[in-house]
Every structure is written in structure tokens, then in C-alpha cells.
Amino acid sequence: LALILLGVVALAVVLASFIPQRGQADPETYAAWRLANPFLARILGFLLLDRVYASWWFYVAVSLLLVNTLACTISRIPPLLRQGSRWPRLGEQQIKRLRNWTALETTSPAPEVTAIVGNHLLRRGYRFASETVGNRTFIFARKGDLARWGSILFHFSFLVLASGALFVQLSRYVGIMVITEGQTVTEQRQDYLRTARFPLLGVKHQGFQVRLERFEPTYYRGVVGTDYVAELVILEEGREVRRQEVRVNQPLNYRGLSFVLEKYGFSPLFVLEDATGRELFRGYVNLVLLPPGTKDFFNIPEAGLTVWARLYPDLVMEEGGPATRSLLPRNPVVYLEVKEGKKEVFRGLLPLNGSAVLGDRRLTFADLRYWTQYQVIRDPGKEVIFGGLWLGLIGLTLRYLITPKQIWGLVQEIPRGTRLIIGGTAPQLDSLFSEEFASLERDLRKEGIGGAP
């Protein structure tokens, strides 16, 4: 059953990797695909193959796999516990049925032979036991017992991971927060741009404040980003309690929340004044202007204006028109297209501190700062997930990197001395074990058991 369920899950994942998935594929691409293949899209939609990872049958298959894993794991524990405390005796015929076995004779007495075999096996890392019944001594040795527990641990880790995943579903919160240089925001609902993931158990905001002190990107040859550093300050009731540099892979963690740096961009300061010099609008506008050439817009509703902007952080005039030498704002110039209703009132380049005249009004490009975007994550299930992952790895390592081996022997007194029948096995790796067994036999022969090798 486990194999069938594994096959079903694997097949589902393969199908989902070929069929555009709703909510995962780019929305425009997905819509275009649906339009191009309406019949196929309807059939796949009916079978829920366009949202495999959210379909009931995928959850059922994964749940059944988990139940199966749980049942297998539990059923394996008692035999393992019994095996751990049991030292089974094998008779001559049973030893001879093993893949690796040999019979050796010596004039030494039986206790001496048992001791020699025991010493060699202990030296090789085996746990050794012997039991004398009448004139026969049964030998048993084994190593790598942990490998058997590895499998249990590995399968158990799936259950821990599943519990962790369920806990994450109930408690994980992901909000998107945008902070401009110099701006202070509060950890409260209205200061988030949006919520990317809302926990079923609800969320309690904590009300501390976060200020972006500075953002500093570093570029290789002016264009390839090599480091992005955001200096964040945490304030509690206006008092600074933490100051930390946040990088792409180094989030800030505070009171159970992680601030993961996700995006950045330019935020020009625009000031709109009327003929008397009265300010009608003043604000840093977070625009998506990277990579250079990208056009974005904003509205000034108070003045009925729509402003389209393009930024050249390090302007250079080329034959084809304006371009930028680098992404660093060494000589920032914005290209603006300003419309009042449908009427264009300005089009042109504006350097820093330059103004555009819009009839009796004036729009000034007064400053340039960076904005940064963070995923703010509350992840109480993290420890359970990590625990499951590590447990699984430890289990796999024990299961597959340690080879369980067992050796049985029978020491019998014969008229001219002692006879030793010894055999062993390493499940899954019997052919490779033959080499080790042959080496053991050579060592025993060197000790005079069975003569020279």
C-alpha cells in the first residue's frame, strides 16, 4: 500500500509540474493557457488537476500515506525491541544455510577458540555473546543495530513534519510591510501593505515600531547587486531597543516576528506647489522603477494629476536617448509624463531639485530615497518543522550509512580438538560482506584455527 500511495503522490506531483496550476502559475500565463485550451482546461478543472496541491484527493493520498507510515512504524517497534534483547542461537545446519560460512578445526580447546573468536569480533566493533550448552558453545555477534532504529526514526519524522505543517497552517502569519528610508512604521494591521497569509487561529499585532535608518545596495560594475543592507531600528514606546543590519539572507528576528528583506526600489520625493508657493502635495512615492527603464505611475488626487515616471539613477545621454551608467543614484534624473485628466501637461526629464511647470503649478523632484519591502513572518511551527527535518535526516543516516551485520558460530569439541562453524550475514549487502567475512576467516587461521590461510 505504501508503494502505491508513494506512486500516487509522485504521479500527482509529476502531473502538477506539467499542468499549469491555478494560484501558482503567473496569472496572465494561466489565463492565456485557459483561453487557448478551453476544453482541456475544463476537463482538468473538473478533475482538480489544475490545483493538485489544494485538491481533496491529494490531501487524501498524503493523509493515507501518513496513516500507513504511522501503522508501519508502530508495528515495527515491538519486534525491534524483542530483537534487541534476544541473542538467537543457530545450529550447524542453519549456519550452513547462510551465504557466508566456513568450518575450521584446531587442536586448541573449545574455551580458547571461543575466546579468540570473541576477541576478533570485539576488535571489529561487534557486540559478542556466547552460551555453552553441554559440549557445544553457541556464539552470536552483531553490530550496526542502530540502522534498524534509523528506519523507525525516518518514518516517525514524517509524522512530526505533518504535525508541524498542520501547526503552521493554524498559526503562521505572513504580512508584507514597506518602509522607506527615514520612515517609522508600527507593527499593526493598517501599517501592512497586505497580508500574504493569515493564520486560522488569528493574529495579535504587537504594536512596536520599526524604522528604516538607511538602505545601501552594493553593485558589481554598477549593475549586478552583490549586497543589500537595510539598517532597521526597533522602538518600544519611542525608545530604541534594537538596531540591526538586515540582508537578503539575514532577517531581523524580534518578539517572534522575522523581517525578511524581499525587495527594494527608489522612492522620489515630489512636491507640488501652486502659484503662491503653497504646497498642494508633498510625499515620497514608492515606485517600481528598477530595472532602469521601468515605468510606474502615481496619482495626486488633490490636483487631479496622474504622473508617470521613469528613473535614470546615473544619467548619461546616449545617441538613442537617456540611459544610466549604473544603478547607484549618482546623477538621478526622472523622466515624467504628467496628465491632467486625459490632457498631457508635461513630458520631459527632471534632474534632482528640478521643477516641471504645469500651467500655474510647479512639480519638483526634491529628493530620492530607497524603499524596502519585508515579509514579516510569525512562524511558531518552525521548531516542530526543524525537529521533523533533523529527525528524518538522522534516521536516514542511521538506516543507510550503517550496515547491520550478524555473525553466528558453533564451537564443538571433537576427538582431536575443536571444530568451529561460523557464518554471517549483512542484509542487503551480503556480497560486500563476503570480503569482511573472508578477512575474519584469515585472521582466525592466523591464530591457528583451521591452519594457515
Partner: protein, 272 residues
Amino acid sequence: VAPLEGWLFWASVLLYSIASISFLGGVVFKKERLAGYGLLLCLAGYIVQTAAIALRWSITGHPPIIGDYENALAASWVILGLFLVLQLRFPALRPVGVAVVPFSLLMLGYGVTRSPTLQPLTPVFRSPWLFVHIGFAWLAYGSYVVAAGLASLFLLKARSGGGSAFYAHLPSPGVIDELSYRFIAFGFVADSVMMVAGAIWANSLWGSYWSWDPIQTWSLICWLVYGIYLHLRVIHGWRRERAAWMAIAAIVTVIVSFWATNYLGVGLHVFR
């Protein structure tokens, strides 16, 4: 690419090409000496490739992990390294090179058709988890490739019926079969470390452990397929021919994970 690195790269490609022909000749004409020459040429190519990697590393200041070219360079180096380590322990297994060396050569060929431009380490790559993630990916996929090579050799030996002196020099089919299993088991552990490290890295980078991006998905498929192989072998007793065919067939998932999804150029793993 720095001029000297280019020379070293092409010298290693040349050596591996001749090594591939030698291995192929050795297996087709059952000439052990040819396979021996193949191993020497492979070793020479490996030394030259190591120099190329060291040079590139010294110039960029980071290990070769960015882009298809660097990944092909490093992954083929790990695969061939595992093959050479196998030779130290089992010198008779030289003919495994007939599968492993041309496979690595194809990887290098694919890599050089992509952009080999020298690039600095971008912010997303600046994480200790990255090195764990990528290092174990190479180990995992390298082990799977060597296991497939061993499985091919097992089938060749099993079909020869023991009549040829060339195959008689090889270890017993049982040993080859078990070595293939061991490489897959080791690869599976490395594969799991790769996925765990990737999930942890993804959480600190994208804020999510798992996103069903094409490379993640195909890595999971690859992991599941090798998990099924191990399950069939350990629980259902699949051995020898059946296990060998599966070890060879499963390599398709490695190829798709490593090449096809990168080639499509979509998903979170396409770092721009």
C-alpha cells in the same frame, strides 16, 4: 572566462573525450587495456579540470555555484571524483567509466553552451545554507549517476554469461549490484540533506519552506523515485536485473531536475 581557464577547460574536455572513446572501445572490444588507458586519461582530465575550477574560484572569490556553466563544471567534477574514489577501492570497476565519463562530458558540453561569464556572488547566494544545499545536491546526483553506471555494468556482466575474460575480471554481479545500491542509498541521504538545507534556506530567503517551484517539484519527484527504489529493494526484495533497470531509469529524474527545469527558466530558482 579567463583565457587560462578556457584552455584548461577545453584540455579537460579533450582528455575526457579520448577517455570516453577508450572506455567505450574497452567495453565493445572487451579490451581491458583500453579501459585502463581510459582511467588514466580520465584522471589526467580530472587534474586539469580541478585546476580550471581552482582558477575560476580564485578569480570570482566564490566556489563555482552560479549559473549552468559553473554548476556543470562542479557537478561533473563531483561525479568523476566519486568514480575515481570507487576506483581506489575497486580497481576492477574501471568499465563503469563507459557510462560516467560521457555523462560528465555531456554536462560540461551543456554548461559551456550556457553563459560561462564570470559573476560575483549575488545577495541571494550569500548564505551558509547555500553551500550545504548545493554541495549535497552534487553529491546526491553524482552518486545516482555512478549508481546508474554500476547498474549498466551489472547488466553487461550479467548478459555476458561469464564467457568473456574481460567481464571475468570484474567483481561478482552481486558486488556490483550492492555497490549500485550503496551509491543510491548514500545519494538518497545526500539528496535529503540537500532538500532540508534548501527548505531552511528558502524560508530565510523567500519566507516559505516549500513553494512548488519547478526545481523543487522535480527534486521531490527525484527523491520519491529513489525512495521507491529503496523501498522496493529493502521491503520487496528487488535485486539484480530489476533493481539495475530501475537505477538506470531513475536517472531521468536527475536529468530533468538538473537540466530541463533550468532550461525552462521559470520559477523561484531562476535568480535574477
